[in-house]
């Protein structure tokens, strides 16, 4: 049970978009991966973490900071999140839980052969991995960017969050194991950036685009596109993002649709032949110490097996305040409706967290969440979660 729980909690190598919103930076300013998450850049480690993130006294107190650079071309990094989780539910289907878990342990290697060519490797303790070759034919330039990424990576959809359990990620098919094989092209100019990716659409299935049947198809691919626009108006920072994904002939049902498809189910596979659409919108506002981030994802699946087309949506809202540099208070609200045509399947979840960064490489986090709603929903139901976490990052 605890193994299953730990696996469910496994955190993907994600980013914290709140920081991007607050500062107005692009994801690629702090992460080697242009779409965020994973190993951090030299700027993030040496400048952002010390100037914006951590307690000033903590940053200053270090006699000598550890540098994960091995020479000029190779850098290593890690995200390790051990923690404690307590879950309680009045629903007899759930048992109360009190567990010590390792939510994430990822080791990163970034090999930068030149400004035009790099290899990225992220190996997670739960078997998840991300690896790709990143080519910038024109090198790294100020103010604009053009790259091609090829390998096994997180699909560029929405905003990549460190906490994969928020409903706009895992519940719509972007969990820690949902990395796919394919290629991505990205372009950035000033405060605008866009990515387009073509992947197998099997969300990590190793058997090409067979969707689990091991039967090769002609072109059962997924196509995902994302656009980001950032703006500043005086002290106000604005982050907009819009995403769209189409996945042709897949066999994976969205966890969001479980209550609508199979009330009481725990994840039975549906027949092959689902055409998935995902539409996402993100808005972030940063004003001094205040940061708001809100995302909505609309999911539309049509099925070949006589099941009516279903449309549902989920949203995540977050309001954070920096009490002082190094200490954030975060309030969250999530809502999901697995089928907008019916009353069933609606859940919401409210939460609060304290995040403390005493040093530029350490986070201490306490979180409480309370879920209310459809009890049969895999990720919802009436439940209380308490999480205490230590996060070491390099």
């Amino acid at each position: 049970m605890k193994t299953l729980l730990a696996a469910l909690l496994a955190t993907s190598a994600g980013a914290i978009p709140r920081f991007a919103v607050r500062t107005g930076f692009d994801c690629g300013s702090c992460h080697v991966n242009p779409t965020g998450g994973g190993i951090r850049t030299a700027f993030a480690r040496n400048v952002f973490a010390r100037q914006w993130l951590a307690l000033p006294a903590g940053a200053e107190a270090m006699d000598e900071a550890f540098s994960p650079d091995i020479g000029r071309h190779i850098a290593i990094g890690t995200d390790v999140r051990p923690g404690y989780l307590w879950q309680n539910s009045p629903d007899p289907a759930f048992s109360d839980t009190s567990s010590l878990v390792t939510m994430q342990a990822d080791l990163y290697v970034h090999a930068r052969a030149s400004p035009k060519l790099a290899l990225y490797w992220d190996q997670g303790v739960y078997g998840g991995f991300e690896t790709f070759v990143l080519v910038r034919p024109l090198g790294e330039r100020e103010g604009w960017d053009f790259y091609v990424k090829a390998g096994h990576f997180v699909i560029p959809f929405g905003v990549r969050e460190a906490n994969h359990t928020i409903w706009t990620r895992e519940a719509v098919g972007f969990g820690p194991r949902d990395r796919d094989n394919g290629a991505e092209v990205g372009f950035g100019l000033g405060r605008f950036s866009a990515q387009l990716a073509v992947v197998n659409g099997t969300y990590g299935d190793a058997f090409l685009d067979a969707g689990g049947t091991r039967e090769l198809r002609v072109f059962d691919k997924a196509v995902s596109a994302r656009m980001v626009f950032r703006a500043r108006a005086g002290p106000l920072r604005v982050w907009h993002a819009a995403s769209i994904l189409y996945n042709d002939n897949v066999s994976q049902q969205s966890p969001l649709f479980l209550p609508a498809l199979f009330p009481g189910s725990q994840g039975e596979a549906i027949p092959y032949g689902v055409n998935e659409w995902r539409f996402g919108g993100f808005l972030g506002l940063g004003l001094g110490r205040l940061g708001y981030a809100g995302e909505i994802v609309v999911v539309r699946d049509s099925f070949a097996a006589g099941i009516p087309t279903i449309v549902g949506y989920t949203s995540y809202q977050e309001l954070a305040v920096t009490l002082f540099q190094g200490l954030d208070l975060v309030g969250t609200y999530e809502f999901a409706d697995s089928d907008i045509e019916f009353e069933r399947g609606r859940v919401d979840r409210r939460g609060g967290a304290i995040e403390f960064f005493p040093f530029p490489f350490l986070e201490l986090r306490g979180m409480y969440r309370h879920s209310v709603g459809a009890k049969e929903w895999l990720l919802g139901g009436a439940r209380d979660d308490v999480e205490i976490m230590v996060h070491l990052f390099l």
Binding site: F25, A65, R141, E142
Partner: protein, 253 residues
């Protein structure tokens, strides 16, 4: 010796060797400075456009923070101080905690090599800072009078908030808009750890920006009155201001 021990020795030897090589200033610059200042040191690194103020262009040989006369080159100690302590209200951190003294020395040498000015121009004349007179009851009022007489408020605003009528029009030597520091919030001042720092800024000016040198325009006593008046403008922000202030997440010592 087991295979794992061999790997450990190999790994840590590589790390130590890499650290030794890093005493080369260029290598230090590429690892720690290039994300903002660019690999050629021209101030155009990949994240440069995200930063305000923009990173310095080392190839120009123009430096704001000096102890030398306006228009001249900084001393080695000036560059070293900026690297050691960073600049308040900007993304530039102090590197004392990250880089070893030898690495910081090597970095200064490398930065000097990026501009031909250091090879061709004579060293800058160090500006003489007059001794600080004792404070008296009239210091602040005299400083305020000097502030008004020299029309500091045209740019800095009558209350020092950086909202003077000329502020929106100011550009630096690269044509970039200058974000005026708010003198009432000392954490946004680039270098104002002491009254003496402010005096030095008056006397040297900030090359590459519209801030001129007032070396010949103020008397020795007046420049200290002015510095103390500027220092007196600093105050603790109110709660709402703290909540909404524009650059709350940078700090200075």
């Amino acid at each position: 010796m087991t295979m794992s021990k061999s790997w450990c020795i190999c790994f840590f030897s590589t790390l130590l060797a890499a650290r030794a090589v890093a005493a080369d200033g260029r290598a230090v610059s590429l690892r720690f400075c290039a994300p903002c200042h660019g690999e050629p040191g021209n101030g155009r690194g990949p994240v440069a456009t995200e930063l305000d103020p923009r990173p310095r262009d080392f190839t120009s040989g123009i430096y704001k923070f000096r102890s030398t006369a306006s228009g001249t080159l900084p001393l080695v100690s000036d560059l070293r101080r900026t690297i050691d302590e960073g600049l308040g209200g900007t993304a530039m951190p102090g590197w004392r905690a990250v880089l070893a003294p030898a690495e910081r020395d090597a970095l200064v040498g490398y930065l000097r090599s990026l501009s031909p000015r250091f090879a061709s121009d004579p060293s800058g004349e160090v500006v003489s800072v007059p001794p600080a007179p004792p404070r008296d009851a009239g210091t602040i009022s005299r400083g305020r009078h000097a502030y008004e007489r020299m029309r500091c408020g045209d740019c800095h605003g009558s209350g020092g908030r950086g909202d003077g009528p000329a502020a929106p029009t100011l550009r630096d030597d690269r044509g970039l808009r200058v974000r005026m520091p708010d003198l009432t919030r000392t954490t946004t001042l680039r270098r104002a750890l002491t009254d003496r720092d402010i005096v030095v800024t008056f006397l040297t000016g900030l090359d590459g920006t519209p801030m001129p040198s007032y070396r010949d325009a103020v008397s020795p006593g007046e420049v200290w009155d002015l510095a103390r008046y500027v220092r007196s403008l600093g105050r603790s922000p109110r709660f709402l201001e703290r909540l909404l202030q524009r650059e709350p997440l940078t700090w200075t010592k």
